[in-house]
C-alpha cells in the first residue's frame, strides 16, 4: 500500500486480554461494514477471543484489562519484549479501571470471603504502565471503534497520535446537549479527556471520567463547583474514584 508515494507496511498485530470484561476487544469486532478494510491494513496473528490462530511474531501488541496476578505480570513482560509498540487499550489497562474499587478492602479478606479459603491466584490491581513501558494509551470504557481505527491509521503511517487534550465539555457543547450539571446531575466532563463525543452526558448520565483526566485538568475548581451545587465530598470522591482516573492527582498537587 502507498500513501503519497510512501510505501506503508502491513504490521503484524496481536491482541491480548488480561483481567477485564473484554468489552474493548468486542468493540474491534463491531462496525462490521469496514472490518474487511481494517483487517486488510493489519495482519492479525494473535487474537484469542475471535481466532484460533496464534503466532508470536507480532510487532504491535494491544493489551486490554488490568494486571492482577504474577502469571499475568510474566505474560505481559514477555509480550513487551516481543512488541515494538505496545498499546494499552481501555480504562482497565490505562487506569486500572473499576477493578480498583476492590482496593478499598484488604485482599486476603476478600479472597477468604468469596472463595472460602480455596487457593486463588490474585494480587493487587495494576495498570499496564505500572509493569511495563506503554507506548500509547487508548482511553475509554469501552474504547470507541472509530478511535481505534483512527489509531491504527496513525500506527501504519508511523505517526504518534495526539488525543484531544481538552475536556469532554467541548464535545458535549458541540452535540448541543443540555449540561447535566444544570439539571442537577453530577458530571466529570470538565476534567475528563474528550474524544468520546460526550456519549454519557448525551444520555443524561453525566461523565464518569472513564477516559482519564484531560491535560492540566482544573480539579480544584471543579471540586468547588460541585460542592457549591450541593454534592457532598464523599459523593464526589465516589464518582472520581470509579474508574480510578483521578486518584493521586489532587493529592500530588497539594
Amino acid at each position: 500500500m502507498k500513501y503519497l508515494g510512501i510505501t506503508l507496511k502491513r504490521p503484524k498485530v496481536g491482541f491480548f486480554d488480561f483481567t477485564g470484561c473484554e468489552g474493548c476487544q468486542l468493540q474491534i469486532a463491531n462496525k462490521e461494514e469496514n472490518l474487511k478494510d481494517l483487517f486488510g491494513l493489519v495482519e492479525v496473528v494473535n487474537f484469542r477471543e475471535i481466532s484460533s490462530e496464534r503466532r508470536d511474531d507480532y510487532e504491535i501488541a494491544f493489551i486490554d484489562g488490568c494486571i492482577t496476578t504474577d502469571s499475568e505480570v510474566a505474560r505481559l513482560k514477555k509480550i513487551r519484549e516481543q512488541a515494538r509498540i505496545l498499546v494499552a487499550m481501555g480504562a482497565c489497562a490505562c487506569l486500572g479501571g473499576v477493578n480498583n474499587l476492590r482496593s478499598r478492602f484488604h485482599l486476603p479478606d476478600v479472597v477468604k470471603e468469596v472463595y472460602d479459603g480455596h487457593p486463588i491466584d490474585t494480587g493487587p490491581v495494576r495498570k499496564v504502565a505500572e509493569i511495563v513501558p506503554v507506548d500509547i494509551e487508548l482511553p475509554g470504557c469501552p474504547i470507541s471503534k472509530p478511535e481505534f481505527e483512527w489509531l491504527v491509521r496513525h500506527l501504519i503511517l508511523g505517526i504518534k497520535p495526539q488525543f484531544p487534550r481538552y475536556p469532554v465539555c467541548v464535545e458535549c457543547k458541540q452535540q448541543l446537549n443540555s449540561c447535566v450539571l444544570d439539571m442537577g446531575m453530577m458530571c466529570l466532563g470538565p476534567v475528563t479527556r474528550a474524544g468520546c463525543n460526550a456519549v454519557c452526558p448525551r444520555n443524561r448520565l453525566g461523565c464518569w471520567g472513564c477516559r482519564g483526566p484531560s491535560e492540566e485538568a482544573n480539579l480544584e475548581s471543579l471540586m468547588e463547583i460541585l460542592k457549591e451545587k450541593g454534592f457532598t465530598e464523599a459523593h464526589i470522591a465516589e464518582r472520581m474514584n470509579f474508574f480510578n482516573a483521578f486518584s493521586g492527582i489532587l493529592d500530588n498537587d497539594r
Binding site: 500513501y3 503519497l4 508515494g5 510512501i6 508511523g158 505517526i159 504518534k160 495526539q162
Partner: protein, 302 residues
C-alpha cells in the same frame, strides 16, 4: 400550501471556474483549493532539515503564483495536515518553490519521508513581506539564527538580482552546533558572486569546528553598522531576536527599519482560524513580517 425557498447555488458562481488567486485577497475564491504540486527535488541539509523544491503542476496556477520575499505558503499533505512554511527560494523563479522544512511533528515528520515525485498541495502565498523596495539605497543587515536562515534566502536572492540597488549587505548567521548550519554549500557563492559579507558563529563547537564560537550577538563586535543607513531583517527563535533587536535599537536603528518574522500556530493562513491571533493582530495577515515597533506593541509577541 407549500413554499419552497429557492436554492442559491454557489457552484454556479464564476469563481468556481478560476483557480484561486491568493494575492487578490478580497474576492470570493475556493480558499481550500490546494494547487497540486510535485516535489521535484529534495536536498538533505542536515539530519533534521531538508530543502524541497516543489513545482505547481497546472501551468495556469503556476502563472498566477507570485510572491515577495518573506511570504509563506500553506503546504498540505492530504490526509495528514496542512502547515505554514516560509518560501525559501527566489521570487523571480517561476518554475518551482523552495521550502526548507525541519521535521518537528506530525506533518513535518511525514514530509521528511516524502520522495521526489510526491504530489502535495500548496495554498498561498500568504502574509506580509520584507519591504525590499523601501530598502533600496540602504545597507541591509540580515541576521539569522538556526532555521531562521530559511526565510532569508528569498531576500538574499532578491538583492543579488538587483545588487546595484543596495549598498552593503551583511549576513550574520548563528546556530547551536556546526551540524545545524544550513545552506553552507551556498556560502561561497553568496560571498564571491553575490558580493555579500557573511559571518557565522556556533554556540557549541565540536573538535572540527574552526570558526567563531559564541552567541549571535558576539558578531556585532566584528561588523560596523551605520544606523542611519541600515535596514535589519531578523529571523530566528524568539529569545534571539529579543536580544538582537534590543541591541540594534540601542545603537540607533529605528524600530520601523527592523523587521522580524514571527511564528505562531496557524491553521488557515487567512485570518480566520484565529490560532495566530495576538489580541488584535493576525500573524498570518498582518505578519509574519512585522517591523519591530509593531512587535513591541503586541502584548505577547516574544
Amino acid at each position: 400550501m407549500n413554499i419552497k425557498i429557492p436554492q442559491y447555488d454557489i457552484n454556479l458562481e464564476p469563481f468556481m471556474e478560476r483557480p484561486p488567486d491568493f494575492n487578490n485577497k478580497s474576492v470570493l475564491m475556493q480558499t481550500e483549493k490546494g494547487f497540486k504540486s510535485e516535489v521535484i527535488n529534495i536536498v538533505k541539509l542536515t539530519s533534521q532539515e531538508k530543502l524541497f523544491q516543489v513545482r505547481i503542476l497546472d501551468s495556469c496556477e503556476r502563472e498566477k503564483f507570485t510572491f515577495l520575499p518573506g511570504q509563506f505558503v500553506m503546504l498540505e499533505l492530504p490526509g495528514c495536515g496542512e502547515i505554514p512554511i516560509s518560501i525559501s527560494s527566489s521570487s523571480s523563479n517561476r518554475e518551482f518553490i523552495g521550502l526548507c522544512i525541519r521535521k518537528a511533528g506530525k506533518v513535518t515528520g511525514m514530509i521528511d519521508r516524502l520522495e521526489p515525485g510526491a504530489i502535495v498541495g500548496i495554498r498561498g502565498p500568504f502574509g506580509t513581506h520584507f519591504p525590499m523596495q523601501k530598502m533600496k539605497g540602504y545597507n541591509i543587515l540580515l541576521i539569522a539564527g538556526g532555521l531562521g536562515i530559511a526565510p532569508l534566502r528569498s531576500p538574499i536572492y532578491w538583492v543579488n538580482e538587483q545588487r546595484s540597488a543596495y549598498k552593503d549587505i551583511t549576513i550574520l548567521y548563528g546556530t547551536r552546533e556546526p551540524g545545524q548550519i544550513l545552506f553552507d554549500y551556498q556560502f561561497e557563492e553568496w560571498q564571491k558572486i553575490y558580493n555579500l559579507k557573511l559571518l557565522t558563529i556556533i554556540q557549541e563547537p565540536d573538535e572540527n569546528w574552526k570558526g567563531r564560537v559564541g552567541l549571535i550577538t558576539d558578531l556585532f563586535k566584528e561588523v560596523r553598522i551605520d544606523p542611519d543607513n541600515t535596514f535589519a531583517i531578523v529571523c530566528g527563535p524568539p529569545v534571539m531576536f529579543k536580544f538582537v533587536c534590543a541591541y540594534l535599537s540601542d545603537i540607533g536603528i529605528p524600530r520601523q527599519r527592523m523587521f522580524v518574522s514571527l511564528e505562531r500556530r496557524m491553521h488557515c493562513g487567512m485570518g480566520k482560524c484565529c490560532r495566530c491571533n495576538v489580541g488584535s493582530t493576525f500573524t498570518c495577515l498582518d505578519g509574519p513580517v512585522f517591523d519591530y515597533w509593531t512587535v513591541m506593541n503586541l502584548k505577547e509577541a516574544i
